[in-house]
């Protein structure tokens, strides 16, 4: 077992345990903090795959913005934060069935892959440069990139309009 595999298994365990805690803990702020731990584990996975940009953006966007927003929302909504309602509803066996079959399907698909279990490919050149070129290249994703930015701009203008209405 290489060091990389050890890191992968440890990170995987961290992600799974934290994800489980997110849905089972009864304290909403703790759930948000466990979510942070899950997202951080995903960032570690990205980093171990040499996707440094994705790893850092994962931390900036998901931990720095979204998780903080969650924590704020949870803190500002209720005093006690400890609900005594049951945590599952009547449909949980169906959800479990879907989850298990999806997992089995994934395991089956990965087993079918010709190079499953092989070492990861060595990345040539600067992946960050390749990503940024792809975002502005007409042959690649420039249209999607621009559409996404226009959508964000529209959301921003809309938010300002709603907030500013007298």
């Amino acid at each position: 077992m290489t060091a990389e595999q050890i890191i992968f298994f440890l990170t995987g365990a961290l992600i799974l345990v934290s994800a489980l805690m997110v849905v089972t803990t009864r304290n909403l702020v703790h759930a948000a903090l466990w979510l942070v731990s899950t997202l951080f584990g995903v960032a570690v996975l990205f980093a171990s795959l040499d996707a440094t940009f994705l790893a850092v953006v994962q931390v900036v966007v998901y931990i720095g913005a979204i998780a903080i927003l969650f924590i704020f929302a949870v803190m500002l909504t209720r005093r006690n934060l400890l609900d005594k309602v049951p945590q599952t509803n009547a449909g949980w066996p169906w959800a479990a069935l879907v989850a298990i079959s999806a997992f089995a399907g994934l395991v089956f698909l990965v087993g079918q892959m010709p190079n499953a279990g092989a070492q990861k490919n060595v990345v040539f050149g600067d992946p960050l440069m390749a990503l940024s070129m792809a975002l502005v290249s007409p042959d690649a994703y420039v249209l999607a990139f621009e559409v996404a930015s226009i959508m964000l701009l529209a959301a921003l203008v809309g938010a300002v309009y709603i907030a500013n209405r007298k």
Binding site: V29, F53, V57, V59, V60, A65, I68, F72, M75, L128
Partner: protein
């Protein structure tokens, strides 16, 4: 003399020979050497941090016309050690109703978020932790871990003042992250890379100059955003002694408070280092290329200068109100930063092929013109507000 030209490599090879001499496997020895390097580097920074306590107290004393620590050792330089002993001996209190795990995790994360930053800081040409190609985004990411630690501290303390302080701090940090990121984009545009090593090198090789000459306004915006991110005066309303009794760390005692305090000092010094690396040529100086240790000295000296400027601001200006702070960020600093980014990108592209002196002069001039336009806009705005007020008073008098 190889040690002088590349000390890290010499130490690495020597340790490698020693460990493989003990018949350790190659990967084990390289792992152990890397761990040793991390522990050694962090310890060195923490020792520096102890010294920073003395620096901070001595400098604030100068600004307030006092002597500062002067009893323990020459110039009171050993004063931090009694401070530390005092902090360690203090009773470690966990308030009733506190959320234990986040409460204890918060100071660790707070200091950790600062220590993370040192992984990407290039101390000299061949002395750096890792040459990350997204180092500037990494700076922002580590900052968001710091935000998280503060909100954990504020919430887990089960104290209203702590929670209020945390809210203020998070509002502060999230808002000022935007001008900071835009200011970080300016060296990125100028150097064509987000790697701190490349940015530092771009300020000396091929006739490069310190980016503070190319983009003085960018350096100023970064400094302001950095001070806000640090939560130092004038943006220290998270502490607000007179209103919320020091805010998010009110419930912390002993060394847990010490970790917050050490984290704050080191954070300020680290941002001084980032200002140095991004705008003041990092480790560059006479003979720094040949002798990396000299480069590290230059870097620390420049970082100390940045730290001193941050202290100078902290101990000179009073705290501002939260609505002023937010308005200053959203209505002034953010638009200015975006305008500067656009101007910098365009002028940089236009002047790409001209001689260096013309390029620097053009970039500097574009910054000056932008500042002039900003001042004119502000003056017109103030005049409009004054006139509106005067006419309202006239109308009220009638």
């Amino acid at each position: 003399m190889e040690f002088l030209s590349d000390p890290i490599k010499v130490i690495y090879e020597w340790l490698m020979l020693t460990f493989t001499g003990w018949s350790w496997a190659g990967w084990v020895s390289s792992l152990v050497i890397n761990l040793l390097a991390i522990v050694g580097f962090i310890s060195a920074i923490m020792v520096l941090d102890i010294l920073l306590v003395w620096v901070e107290r001595k400098v604030v004393a100068r600004f307030q016309d006092r002597l500062g620590p002067n009893r323990v050792g020459p110039f009171g330089i050993f004063q931090p050690f009694p401070d530390i002993i005092k902090l360690i001996l203090k009773e470690d209190i966990t308030p009733e109703g506190a959320d234990r795990v986040p409460f204890n995790l918060a100071p660790i994360l707070s200091l950790g978020s600062v220590l993370f930053l040192w992984a990407v800081v290039p101390l000299a040409s061949r002395i750096y932790g890792v040459d990350l190609n997204v180092a500037l985004l990494y700076l922002v990411a580590a900052g968001s871990i710091g935000t998280l630690s503060i909100i954990m501290a504020g919430w887990a303390s089960n104290n209203k003042y702590a929670l209020l302080g945390a809210y203020r701090m998070v509002a502060n940090m999230i808002s000022y992250e935007i001008p900071m990121v835009v200011a970080l984009l300016i060296p990125t545009v100028l150097a064509g890379s987000m790697s701190l090593k490349t940015i530092t090198e771009a300020q000396s090789t091929n006739g490069g100059v310190w980016f503070v000459l190319v983009s003085p306004l960018g350096a100023l915006i970064f400094l302001i955003a950095a001070i806000a991110e640090l939560g130092r005066s004038p943006f220290d309303l998270n502490e607000g002694e007179s209103e919320i009794v020091s805010g998010y760390h009110i419930e912390y005692s002993g060394m847990k408070f010490g970790l917050f305090y050490a984290g704050e000092l080191l954070h300020a010094f680290t941002f001084g280092g980032f200002v140095a690396a991004l705008f003041f040529g990092g480790w560059h100086g006479p003979w720094a290329e040949q002798y990396p240790l000299l480069g590290a000295f230059y870097f620390v000296a420049k970082a100390m200068f940045g730290y001193w400027v941050i202290m100078w601001v902290k101990y000179t200006v009073p705290r501002i109100r939260i609505d002023h702070m937010l308005a200053f960020n959203w209505k002034f600093l953010t638009p200015l930063a975006f305008a500067l980014l656009m101007v910098t990108a365009v002028v940089h592209r236009v002047l790409l092929d001209v001689p260096t002196w013309l390029y620097v002069a053009g970039m500097f001039l574009s910054n000056v013109i932008l500042v002039w336009i900003t001042v004119e806009v502000l003056r017109a705005q103030a005049r409009r507000e004054r006139e509106a007020k005067a006419s309202a008073q006239l109308a009220a008098a009638d």
